[in-house]
């Protein structure tokens, strides 16, 4: 057994807890999960059935842990892990599964196939066989956390410039984008890009919110890698910042995996309980609209609008009605996709897939069911509250000639706020040089 294989098996063993063992043992191979997967819908073949994918790891697990399988491997098609099998597993976990959990919801037994795909990703990360780009992105974020002063000055200079824009758009000369504000109620964590700072800043200033901007971005590529060490280091930057500033809550930008991980997973990675809540920007906006702290006019948006449920926000995050509450108040012609909410189809961009250029063709092909869904609504505007979904739907738009515009929910809210000046130009400026460029493969 080579060192790599030994490491991989050790990584599997380390991750083998009750839920993972259950997922590995429970499948009856009934195949009912097939159509739940967008890869299968786009190209119906056995290899695209979630159960088949999971079976590749199960065969290894059975060989290691099952008496009958060790004795008669042919009977359960069990096999000893080797380099070629590990490479195949890695390929499957990073290119053919977006960890959307649609198969889990549709499985009569509730088998958590994404948990197994995560286990494979964890094995790949441990053995150094995971996609290099994801490792680089995670490491870049970790380095930034070690010495933020290196880029902070430049970041602050860009924020001051953005404040000018903010004042111009809102007509409020006192409007500001506070950074490092001690004791603020909200620590807002953006993504890599001014487009995730300016629109929320408009909302926060209009609502007279007590907030401060994080100097870090919400993305956590360690999560995509299922590399707990890296994921913790990336998350720790923001947890430490929140503790240092003594904020009441962390508010995560419109980002599926960041929200899902900070809301549901990160609290388990650190000892003790957090002194702050974790919420999505969407929840805060919904509250501000409900409380009348921001006024919106739905007649500003006469176009037919549809909403794409990010898997990490809806099915895996529980944010289902909040975006709809907001859309209900800012649009006049809202059209649901079918299916939607917890049953929504994955766009194909999740799980870090949009950052992996080598799988572009497969990713765009797997996005076909989502493209068809969008087309069927007849909507001209697609709202997606997740950056990776927006990137993916943007590419689907071009590839499948959807002729739609894709927007973040906050941008649409700002449009409905009837500000003195519209939100145009310059919002896409990159504040986190390098990372976004890598993520979008420009």
């Amino acid at each position: 057994m080579t060192e790599t294989i030994e490491l991989a098996l050790k990584a599997l063993e380390t991750q083998l807890n009750q839920p993972l063992e259950t997922a590995l043992e429970a499948c009856a191979r009934c195949g009912i999960c097939a159509e739940a997967c967008h890869y299968y819908r786009a190209e119906p073949k056995v290899e695209h059935i979630p159960a088949f994918r999971a079976e590749q790891l199960r065969s290894i697990h059975r060989y290691e842990h099952d008496f009958l399988s060790r004795l008669f491997p042919v009977w359960t098609r069990s096999k000893k892990l080797d380099e070629a099998t590990l490479a195949n597993l890695t390929e499957i976990a990073f290119s053919q599964c977006t960890l959307c959990r649609r198969c889990t919801v549709n499985c009569p037994l509730g088998v958590d196939t994404p948990l197994m795909m995560r286990a494979i990703r964890g094995m790949a990360s441990t053995t150094g066989t995971a996609p290099e780009i994801l490792v680089m992105l995670a490491d870049a974020a970790i380095e930034k956390g070690k010495d933020p002063s290196f880029y902070k000055e430049m970041f602050l200079a860009q924020i001051r410039e953005m404040e000018e824009q903010l004042r111009d758009i809102t007509g409020d000369q006192d409007a500001e984008i506070p950074v490092d504000k001690q004791g603020a109620r909200i620590l807002y964590v953006p993504l890599a890009g001014a487009h995730t700072i300016l629109p929320p800043a408009i909302v926060f200033n209009t609502a007279k919110e007590d907030w401060t901007l994080s100097i870090f971005e919400a993305s956590n590529y360690g999560v995509f890698l299922a590399d707990m060490d890296r994921a913790k280091q990336v998350a720790k930057r923001i947890v430490d910042e929140a503790n240092r500033l003594g904020v009441g809550e962390i508010v995560i930008s419109e980002c599926g995996h960041a929200y899902s991980s900070y809301r549901w997973d990160v609290p388990n990675w650190f000892p003790g309980e957090f002194n702050f809540k974790v919420r999505s920007l969407i929840e805060v906006i919904a509250d501000h609209i409900a409380d009348g702290r921001i006024k919106v006019d739905p007649t500003v948006i006469p176009e037919a609008v549809t909403y794409h449920d990010s898997c990490n926000l809806a099915r895996n995050g529980g944010l289902i009605e909040e975006p709809r509450f907001v859309l209900d108040r800012i649009t006049t012609d809202f059209r649901e996709m079918t299916p939607n909410k917890a049953e929504a189809l994955c766009c194909g961009g999740g799980g870090g897939l949009v950052a992996l250029a080598e799988y572009d063709e497969l990713r765009i092909a797997a996005g076909k069911p989502k493209a068809d869904q969008i087309k069927n609504t007849g909507a001209r505007v697609v709202v997606a509250a997740c950056e990776n979904c927006r990137l993916q739907i943007g590419e689907l738009n071009e590839h499948y000639d959807l002729n739609v515009s894709i927007t973040a929910l906050t941008d649409l809210v700002v449009r409905a706020m009837r500000l003195p000046k519209p939100l145009t130009g310059g919002e896409g400026e990159d504040l986190f040089e390098g990372e976004r460029a890598l993520a979008t493969k420009d």
Binding site: N17, E25, A28, I49, L68, V105, P108, W264, P267, G318
Partner: protein
Amino acid sequence: MLIYQLIALAGLIAGLFGICLRYAATRLRSLPADRSPSKGDIPRGIKYAFTAGMMPWAKESTRIHRIAYLRGIGLHVGVFVAIGVVIISPFWESLPALLSRALFWVLMLGALLGAAGGIMRLLEHTLRGLSLPDDHFAVWLTTIFIATAGLALSNEAFMIPMYIVSAITFVYIPLGKIRHCLYFFFSRIFFGKFFGRRAVFPHPQRAK
């Protein structure tokens, strides 16, 4: 007959022992703590996972594959009824005739649906691609188990085959694919905990 009854009993004890070992082994694994504040209701999530969430209309997959799902339900009902029928076999004579007849038909239907499932596994391209030798064996073994239990209810000549097949089935439960009967419960509990905590299932219609 007693010897065959003892063989079946030995099989049942061995099967139960194996399942208990599997249960203990899984329970010895760590259970990850979840300290994130719950948005929903975990007990309701678990309840949903075992009740409304199992209905044929609850999932897109079972709406698409309604017949396959009902076929599976029929087979599983047959298996559980057959286990009960075999266990109480020494007391069959005291069963009311109507109940005995009803059990016979339930078992025959279960066996028929099991056979249909076994044939589909052989004929349907995707299902065949997914299936292991273990899967084929398990579906036919349980089908024969149900069938012999049903036939023995109406004809004493099937008593010995029933006990022999029962013993094989019971022993095979923890060894092969049939052990998913244990992990079904783990899986649905984890499903209910995960989605219940997040208020995804059951889902409140309006959050605000």
